[in-house]
């Protein structure tokens, strides 16, 4: 690590987590469907600096939640290590839990019959905050997340978006050094989700918190301009910023309009047989080419020699993130980046 860079808040090194089937003696207590060991996390390494947001992406079963649970001490690593502010998440779990603000994916994790204030008070007390300090922190945090004036409302009466804000407030109230947010916008509508993402970005920047966020919403990642960590089958498939990801995995996207449906159909077949990327139809007369990296327009046009006279228009656009991710996951041989 260079001397100019602050020490990383989160350091994960060669982390492996294998879920073993329950011990045989437990079968008379509870039946388990897990018959073989499952390698949920398979040697991942990454760091998150103060003030940095790292978005963890991956399909279900990629290992995101397991990695998060290791970081807060809810599960033990099989090998490797995870540290938060220099403390080992496995062996110094109590200290780590003081330093981390955790927002679980499940909104039921709130005390539904209790008021907004009581939810925060309970958490603050367990974080060891004194009464006056806690009262101040409740007011400040509610204002920060835009819930000022809602303190006495019962939690179950809040909208889904407000519950997400309350979960964020609970994660923030003890001023943690690290935020771990498991799908913070999972159940929230797009408008509220957009606001919440901006809020998280601003808080992380202002408080210089290291934030680890898992998300399935690709538009959020673009909004956050954050670092992206792509996990797949427990391994890191990509670790870097979005621009580099685009350069590495996204070629240009071309939309070609033809004079008639026959030409479009024939062109589609020619392009598909050439294996130059993902080819789809846009209406009867349009063909959309999500080109593989390093495939040029000239190569596409050379493949369409017999139909060039039927081309009405040719338009280049930015490849959507979902297409880039599909390329990453398709490129299994690419290995860890």
């Amino acid at each position: 690590m260079s001397s100019s860079q602050p020490p990383a808040s989160i350091v994960v090194s060669d982390l492996v987590k294998v879920y073993e089937p329950s011990p045989r003696w437990m079968s008379f207590l509870v039946r388990s469907n897990l018959k073989h060991a499952v390698r949920a996390v398979d040697g991942i390494s990454f760091e998150v600096q103060p003030g940095e947001i790292c978005v963890v992406l991956g399909p279900n079963g990629a290992g995101k939640t397991t990695a998060f649970r290791v970081l807060v001490g809810l599960t033990t690593p099989t090998s490797g290590s995870a540290t938060v502010m220099g403390y080992n998440a496995d062996k110094e779990a109590v200290t780590v839990r003081k330093l981390v603000g955790w927002m679980p994916a499940d909104q039921r994790a709130l005390l539904m019959r209790h008021s907004v204030n009581e939810n925060l008070r309970f958490h603050g007390q367990l974080q060891g905050m004194e009464r006056d300090e806690l009262n101040r922190a409740i007011d400040e945090t509610l204002e920060l997340v835009g819930l000022d004036g809602w303190g006495s409302s019962t939690c179950f009466a809040l909208s889904t978006g407000m519950k997400a804000r309350l979960q964020l407030a609970r994660a923030l109230i003890h001023r943690p050094d690290v935020l771990i947010l498991d799908e913070p916008t999972g159940a929230v509508d797009p408008v509220a989700s957009h606001e919440l993402v901006h809020l998280i970005r601003d808080i992380v920047s202002e408080r210089q918190i290291a934030a680890l966020i898992s998300s399935h919403r690709l538009e959020e990642i673009e909004t956050l301009h954050s670092r992206v960590l792509l996990l797949d089958e427990g391994r890191v498939r990509y670790d870097g910023d979005l621009n580099s990801l685009r350069q590495k995995y996204a070629g240009p996207m071309l939309t070609i309009e033809f004079r008639n449906a026959d030409s479009a159909s024939e062109a589609g077949l020619s392009l598909k047989s050439a294996d130059i990327g993902s080819i789809s139809h846009n209406g009867a007369e349009g063909v959309v080419c999500e080109l593989s990296p390093n495939v040029t327009h000239a190569q596409v046009l050379s493949l369409l020699q017999s139909q060039t006279e039927d081309i009405v228009s040719l338009q280049e656009s930015v490849t959507p993130l979902h297409a880039i991710l599909a390329n990453v996951y398709r490129d299994k041989k690419g290995g860890e980046t």
């Binding site: 987590k17 879920y19 073993e20 001490g73 809810l74 200290t95 367990l126 974080q127 609970r170």
Partner: protein, 277 residues
């Protein structure tokens, strides 16, 4: 002060932890006033049939001179002991089902303090139920020897500690299975049948009487009768014997309870099932 990690003190301390959990439980209970009232009524109502049975049997020597007092002591102590025994397990199960357990576990609180912190309300409600049964029983005509009250309180406290320890053992299984509490059910069956809460232990077959000596409930209920009743009936349990036995039970059960709970936590963390449902 150091933590279990040997680092500087970061845990909130027992007072704050206990206060936080008690506050949450009390707010939860008073949110449902009618349910709370019915729970309290449900404690008193079972006394009524025993009042009439005691009128019927009069001063029969089968159980003792005063069947109402005999039963009030049995039911009152059973309420307190059941509260102590089942509190942590039921709180744990509720937290699993509601999805709040993960949040409890992601606090800088040593997990071994949870059995006591999460047991407080049920423990207090059990003690309140017990006092209510004794109070209503006294109004119905139960006759207690006031000179025996201090000894009875000592025995009750020892019994509550051993019941809490049994509850912790049971909760350890709950941590692994996330459902049900087979150990607690087994013990409750045995205690309700063999500890002599509403009939005398010497009415049981001899082999069953031997088993009853393995249950803390038997010592608590019968020694309290010795302390509080002028004529405790045909089965006599000395208060000294009961106190010694309960101290031994407590040492063994608390040691085993916390050990088993820690091991269950470790195994549950390793299996990745901790806090989930």
């Amino acid at each position: 002060m150091t933590t279990e990690t040997g680092e500087r003190r970061i845990s909130p301390g027992w007072r704050k932890t206990a206060g936080a959990f008690l506050r949450v439980d009390v707010i939860e209970e008073i949110n449902y006033p009618l349910t709370l009232a019915m729970q309290l009524l449900g404690i008193i109502v079972p006394l009524v049939p025993f009042f009439f049975i005691s009128e019927l049997v009069g001063s029969s020597r089968t159980v003792g001179g005063d069947y109402l007092t005999f039963t009030v002591i049995g039911l009152g102590l059973t309420a307190a002991l059941t509260g102590a025994m089942s509190g942590f397990g039921s709180s744990l199960q509720r937290a699993f089902q509601r999805g709040t357990m993960e949040v409890f576990l992601v606090q800088p609180v040593p997990w071994t303090t949870l059995p006591l912190a999460m047991n407080q309300w049920t423990l207090m409600f059990g003690a309140l139920s017990s006092l209510l049964i004794f109070g209503v029983g006294a109004l119905m005509g139960a006759d207690f020897q006031m000179s025996g009250v201090p000894v009875a309180i000592v025995i009750a406290i020892l019994g509550i500690i051993s019941s809490t320890a049994i509850g912790i053992c049971s909760a350890a299984i709950l941590l692994l299975t996330l459902k049900s509490a087979p150990l607690l059910r087994l013990y409750s069956f045995a205690a309700s049948l063999l500890a002599g809460s509403i009939f005398s232990v010497d009415q049981l077959p001899t082999w069953a009487q031997y088993i009853s000596y393995a249950l803390p409930h038997t010592y608590v209920i019968n020694a309290t009768r010795t302390a509080l009743m002028d004529d405790p009936g045909t089965f006599h349990m000395s208060t000294t014997t009961a106190i010694v036995a309960l101290v031994v039970f407590n040492i063994v059960f608390l040691t085993v309870g916390f050990y088993v709970f820690r091991r269950a936590l470790e195994l549950s963390r390793k299996m990745g099932t901790l806090g989930g449902y």
